[in-house]
Symmetry: C2
Subunit: 143 residues, 2 copies
Amino acid sequence: MGDISEKVESAIKLLRKEGLRITEQRKAILNVLAHADTPLSAEENHVNLTTEQCDLVTVYRCLEQFVKKGIVEMGVRENGTKVYWLGHGDGTGHHHHLTCRKCGRAERVDLCVGSELEKIAHGYGYTKITHVMEAFGLCPICR
Amino acid sequence: MGDISEKVESAIKLLRKEGLRITEQRKAILNVLAHADTPLSAEENHVNLTTEQCDLVTVYRCLEQFVKKGIVEMGVRENGTKVYWLGHGDGTGHHHHLTCRKCGRAERVDLCVGSELEKIAHGYGYTKITHVMEAFGLCPICR
DNA sequence: ATGAGTGCAAATAGTTTGCAAGCTG
DNA sequence: CAGCTTGCAAACTATTTGCACTCAT
């Protein structure tokens, strides 16, 4: 719990640092992300807001901003839905997920090709590299 | 060119092996994939069919089947659009892409976490693992 | 001839955009 | 008080589904 409010606090600090305004809606959205143990879609984030704290459109817009500023990381589900989770704003703790195709449970996967990818990409002359990598499977319970 | 019709031939052989029927539409869709040098969305595949060879819905349905049978591989764009490219049906030649965010040009990236991922996933008790991994950047021309 | 495959129309999911009003710094 | 941020309505893109018809095997 203390861990969670700490995560929210540090995310809010990042908002400030990045010149984004601190609103109730943004705090609420970050709070939901901090409580989630799996990546969340915009819609899922929205339904988890207690008592309609903001519009779904606002969730989309905020998440987009957060990603742009590196406060939140983005991935995709097998069906193309975008999902979001709290980052650290500094690249630390960058990770991916292994998500159960059936129940949605996700495990953190500390496995990343980021650095090799950068090398290859620069070799081709590409810049501003980002990557999406998500794994899917059937968890032991759903199997 | 010979290379391309060869690719189509071998994909058609796989269709047969997997018990899927060979139709003009399916041949046309595979042909488009064989000519493409970047992953294609269903819509892009459809517009590349010469003279309205089939309905867009059919493209969606065929691509889905092909992926299920391992004849075609699937990835996602940053915006969640699904994209497809010809696989080898046997896991050989599995690869990923580095796609230019601006012009859509793509480079093949022979870099894959497949095996490490399998290991980690099995450790968690997950089975039937798949993964999506795509990289994006700005190519030297668009930069 | 049987059921896989197709086309057309319509529904759905996820996301984006325009604009006027509200609130933060 | 300037302009970033939000809400509401509406548009839009990508994809899926239902159903009757067609064609490969």
